[in-house]
Amino acid sequence: MSITIEQLEGPQKITWCTGCGNFGILAALKKAIVSLDIPHHQYVLVSGIGCSGKIPHYINLNSFHILHGRPIPVATGLKMANHDLRVIVHTGDGDCLGEGLGHFIHAARRNVDIAVFLHNNGVNGLTKGQFSPAAPRGYVSKTSPPPPGSPMEPVNGIAHAIVAGATFVARGYSGDQKMLTELMKQAITHRGFAVVEILQPCVTWNRKLTWRYFNERTYPLEENGHDATSREKALAKALENGDRIPIGAFYTGEAPLLADGLSLPDGRLRDHRTDLARLQELLEEKLV
């Protein structure tokens, strides 16, 4: 039984700024969920802190809105507890590529079967526009030290994900609903660690990464003959960040899942009961 848009109607009034790129992300998420044949109660959103982190309050799903930078490890434990769940992380560039960068890379290495939607607007918006880890070198804001702007290269989330071992890596754009919806569907149904970096303008703080900036520079990978089965080609595309910004699936592959390497029962871990008679035997091995 498919889910209707009305069923996803958010419980709270949206607090994002008018024109925010997050509206497009929320709309695409709803469309993706409506078009997938997955029971409503099996979705869980796990989000961090920032404007992206508020998305669970604007869509009717199970959700866990947690700390800054930590949604990926929380989502990892949750997925292992119940592998029937479709666990989707919503995180921002500040959340995921700053405090959360270590978790992001290690989760990719583990190929834990979750989808990560990385809202990337190049700023820490909710704290008033400081440069984020994804801000370009020289990005100037009134709220970040030092005066000449961000004195370092941006974190390349796509490249990190590919190198670390993520098995689905894509970039979407909040302004391209059709492609973003499609990429989200692929990520949700992908078996393994799926990352969709989502370009979005922060209309309040970011004067550089605007709708116009993205509209002029983004181009679809698929229509330009990109081979998404090759990690090398994916990485080469990931390093392309000049005047033209590729969007679409960079890489799709397969690798063992984290769950394959843990001692999980056949059913859901949450239903499993340790065999106490067996535990008693193991304890009695310590009898002298």
Binding site: P73, V74, A75, T76, M80, L262, R270, L276, A277
Partner: protein, 569 residues
Amino acid sequence: MTFNIGGMAGQGIDTIGGLLAKVFVKTGFYTFTVKDFESRIRGGYNFTQIRVSDAPVHCPVDDIDLIVALSKDAITGKRDQLVDDGVIIYDDRFDFEPDEECYFPAPLSKTAKEVGGSTRMTNAAALGALLSVIRFPFDLARQVLTDIFTRKGERVVEDNVRVAQALYDYTAERFSGRCRHNLSMLKGGPSTDRLLLTGNEAVAFGAMAANVKWVASYPMSPSTSAFIEVVSHARDLKIATLQPEDEIAALCMSIGASYGGVRSMVTTSGGGFSLMVEALGLAAMTETPVVIYNAQRPGPSTGLPTRTEQSDLLFSAFASQGEFPRIVLAPKDILDAFHTTVRGFNLADQFQVPVIILGDQYLADSAANIAPLDVTSVEIDRGKLARPADGDEYMRYRLTDDGISPRAFPGDEGVFVVSSGNTHLEDGHITEDPKIRNAMVEKFMKKAPAIREALKPPLLTGRADSKMCLVTWGSTWGAVSEAAEKLNKSGLSISHLHFTDLYPLRTGLLNEFFAKAERVVSVEQNATSQFASLVTMETGLRFDHHINKYDGRPMTPHWVMQMVEEVIA
């Protein structure tokens, strides 16, 4: 009777110690083994002390009857603790001139190689020499060794027995010193307690009996062996265990797993717990039960990584920004480590709070034989759970009289489980409404009195109107209770009030003791009397004296008695 096996890391001190403990457990004695080691993989000077008694023993002592030295340092390292008529057996390959009668050189490694075919048999050689000095009947030793090694095959049994016997006979012939123990008439001791466990193993078995299904831990001494114990049974029992990138991830994963409906746990020490503090607050705010086992070691920073201390109590009670209910427990001994861990899981679920179990290196690494445990009779209480019928009406943070809202789990059909580390509404979505904020803070505060009621009162030994009351918590129970007993026998009037359940603090008995006892004295393995501070904070009562130990080494009854006598003087 107390033995000390000393040598370098990597020489098999633990193996000999373990073997010796097993020999005495099998012959019906109570044993207590404590390890003293440096943070290194090879070399240094490490030792194991094995205390053997015909009554249960719960702590190390200062006096040593017999030392086996596997390194040159170990020959003289504990000489000052040797009793009169004590003996130091050492490998004769060391260049050491014995200048006292207590020294007995024996060809340990040489015989191991010649008779057993490998210097790895030095363990059996040392055991043979040691048993010979105390005139332990060899037939009995043979039976016991056969039992111990049977699992490893006939060849191993034969080799070990042969090497042990060679040294036993050698020693019987050559040893001309004096030993105060002569067990030649020994038939067996009174103990039937055959379960030889360390504190960390007891924590691990408690967790497994309580149906822990997710454990994420980053290695950190002295907690690691608790994690390893679970890991070693994970495949068999279907327990998901993961070594994540850091302790932050460890606790976050465990919180995620618990939100998903499984009982989960992290094992760590103070440094790791420091990293977990923000997530501790998340567990509290989202009312997600989780058990944190902190095997304490001396800090701050790296401190003494392989030593013991009780200095994380106030940190555990107050860690994280904000105000919230939590539970802090500290087992008193190895058996209690099992039961306290089981209880910790139940309390976490009943009150939907984080539970911190404070062990320490001393408890974690010491071993004793205890009566068999029945893990199948463990009771599990998952606390308030939502009924499927609650359906559309379900709200994760429904306001209730006792502050506890029924849990449902994501994936349950017909309900949405919405949870947030922000201040939230009953339905879990975020809010900044001052009325709701008040209601949610009060929801938290309502839990504290009920938690206090559910916690165990302190263990009382002696009378409230004694001249002196010693107040302790956690693993120091063994040394202090033995000291109190001895002091009472010597004519003093000492009572002992011991806390396992620390926070929120039950204050009832404290008021009575402070009113009646002439002097109330705290005894703690830390420098600042943290528990005493907690008592004063909660009750306004002030201790008359504080006894503190912070050198990283466990308390002994003798040390406690000396300190008490100083207080009296």
